[in-house]
């Protein structure tokens, strides 16, 4: 086994498709590994994922550990955990990064507890300070605070928020080694009876979002926002109050854990801008806010703000856009 030090990135995949957060982790991992002068490794567990393993090299990994087994095709918590813990005991990386997805958080926590090491949740920044220490930055208290966290044990583990780090450009000229590892099987204990796509809404990846908040008067009024969104193939989003009222599904909620968005255009209709909501959308390229209350927090981060009633402004926007297209 390689005795050289590593930064290790967990490559999350489902049915052979790599979760894009993995490429962002490889981009950041490359930078950290270079600063520390160590190898960037990645680990992928799955069934028939050879081509996926090559993608990890094209996106920056020097070395890929590949576990191929049918049981690993879908999420099998205890088999993933068992093989990951074994690898980490063997290779003893300096740093181990996972995506802050449901899966990454669940698996990461089990692995960290098994190894007795520290795990920092949902990081939005990672760096090596001037003394060579690994610093993990995460928002706390609904994004009002940025905590800088350090870890005294190894590996230093972190889950990292999606859409924050930058991935490297895919380069098929990049070279690296793929090390096939033997899968050790343990009882699964948890059986998958059924699975289905919860919805086609993937708000985190939306290019344009039209969101509604407490300024909406009833569930049906989301149709107005949907009409505007429909003009651009945009996704309808929501702040927390309409979701809590059951007017729209939680998968539409911006600012809910995991649902950080970074669209080109974010249009907030009747959203005052709670810290959670702002933390979930502040990275949008262009922010447009419509609100009757001129002191609403959302205006502080808006590129365009309209103090007015969304029931007047949104229909005018729709009309004007349609006229432009005539």
């Amino acid at each position: 086994m390689a005795a050289d030090k590593e930064v290790l990135v967990f490559a999350e995949q489902r049915e052979g498709v790599i979760n894009p957060v993995t490429y962002e982790l490889l981009g950041k991992g490359r930078e950290l590994a270079d600063k520390l002068g160590v190898v960037l490794a990645s680990v992928i567990l799955g069934s028939q994922v050879d081509s996926a393993a090559a993608e990890l090299i094209y996106h920056g990994a020097d070395r890929v550990y590949l576990y191929d087994g049918e049981i690993l095709a879908d999420f099998d918590l205890l088999n993933y955990k068992h093989n990951m813990v074994k690898l980490l005991r063997e290779t003893q990386p300096e740093i181990f990064l996972l995506g802050a997805t449901h899966w990454g958080r669940s698996l990461g926590a089990r692995v960290a507890a098994a190894l007795g090491t520290g795990l920092t949740a949902d990081c939005t920044g990672l760096d090596i300070d001037k003394n060579g220490n690994f610093v993990q930055i995460r928002p706390a208290f609904s994004g009002n605070v940025l905590a800088h966290i350090r870890t005294r044990t190894r590996p230093q583990m972190a889950t990292v928020r999606y859409k924050i780090m930058k991935s490297l450009k895919r380069d098929t000229g990049r070279k690296g080694e793929i090390i096939k590892k033997e899968v050790e099987l343990v009882p699964s204990l948890i059986a998958i009876l059924h699975k289905e796509k919860a919805s086609d809404i993937n708000i985190a990846d939306a290019e344009m979002i039209v969101s509604g908040g407490a300024g909406l008067k009833k569930a049906e009024d989301f149709a107005l926002l949907a009409e505007l969104a429909g003009l651009f193939g945009a996704t309808v989003g929501s702040s927390r109050p309409p979701v809590d009222s059951g007017w729209i599904g939680r998968e539409h909620q911006v600012g809910f854990s995991g649902n950080t968005v970074k669209p080109r255009v974010y249009l907030a209709c009747g959203i005052s801008g709670s810290p959670q909501h702002l933390a979930g959308m502040r990275e949008s390229d262009i922010i447009i806010a419509i609100n009757t209350d001129p002191s609403a927090s959302i205006f502080r981060i808006a590129d365009y703000g309209i103090v007015g009633d969304l029931y007047i402004v949104v229909p005018r926007l729709i009309k004007s856009i349609k006229e432009c297209r005539r």
């Binding site: 899966w103 609904s142 402004v313």
Partner: protein, 267 residues
């Protein structure tokens, strides 16, 4: 299920988040001015436990780790349907990160008289890590299911539906198991005045680090047992964008936005 399940519910007392103040200049978080409550997600865990108990019989033990005033959270849990309550309270538990917290909880649970099911919220509103549940399951060497929004118990098996990053999974597992639940799992019931009076008659058991040390390594409690530490805290000043804010002319605003922002999207 004739004998019923032994259920443990983990609750954390958290500050009411909207009341926490932030001092930008001094980089300080002031929680002292905030009221405290049971972590809202833990109320869903408690409600799930009560519903299972109503169906199968059994018992509910609520456990919390925290300072003396966390007894209030446990009183609330008793009023909402827990049968017994245990508070892990000791200065030596203070400053614990998720690893030390889960280790301490695991030590107390090992010392308790056995369990079939552990329920807790998918995360807490103050720490927001979602790690303590899965880490605890690992310490206890039992499987866990995270983010469950539907739960059903039958024939010594538990079936849970959970969201895994956009796909819903229906999972089946035997006992013992740990499950973390989301806000969509149920609507927590309110406790009545009578419930509260009744809850006052139940003694909250308290355990210290010394009592747990019989089954645990006390060096793994609290800050000394925590591999992570907060090196510094930054309170970013509120962000501003130099936006164009239209206060009295919707027409002008619409015209400018349609031209400046949406023009590239006009087919």
């Amino acid at each position: 299920m004739t004998t019923g399940l032994k259920i443990i519910v983990l609750v954390k007392q958290v500050p009411v988040m909207s009341q926490v103040k932030f001092d930008v200049d001094r980089g300080k978080v002031d929680r002292s001015s905030a009221d405290v409550e049971i972590n809202p997600f833990d109320l869903n865990a408690l409600e799930a436990a009560v519903q299972i108990k109503e169906k199968t019989g059994g018992s509910i033990l609520a456990i919390s780790m925290g300072p003396a005033r966390a007894e209030l959270a446990l009183r609330d849990a008793l009023a909402r349907g827990a049968d017994r309550a245990l508070l892990l309270r000791d200065r030596k538990f203070a400053g614990a990160d998720t690893l030390a917290t889960s280790y301490t909880l695991a030590s107390a649970i090992r010392q308790a008289e056995g369990f079939d099911l552990i329920l807790t919220g998918e995360k807490t509103v103050d720490g927001d890590t979602g790690q303590v549940g899965p880490e605890l399951a690992e310490h206890l060497d039992i499987p866990h299911i995270a983010h469950a929004y539907k739960l059903d118990v039958s024939d010594e098996r538990l079936v849970a539906v959970c969201d895994m990053d956009g796909t819903s999974y229906t999972l089946e597992v035997g006992f013992p198991v740990l499950v973390t639940v989301t806000k969509d799992a149920n609507t927590p019931r309110l406790s009545t005045f009578r419930d509260k009076v009744k809850a006052r008659q139940v003694a909250v058991e308290v355990k210290s680090a010394r009592e747990l040390a019989a089954v645990a390594d006390a060096a793994k409690f609290g800050a000394p047992g925590s591999p992570t530490w907060v090196h510094r805290v930054l309170i970013p000043s509120a962000e501003y964008r130099k936006g164009r804010i239209f206060t009295d002319s919707v027409d002008e605003a619409v015209a400018e936005i349609v031209t400046e922002v949406f023009r590239p999207y006009h087919r």
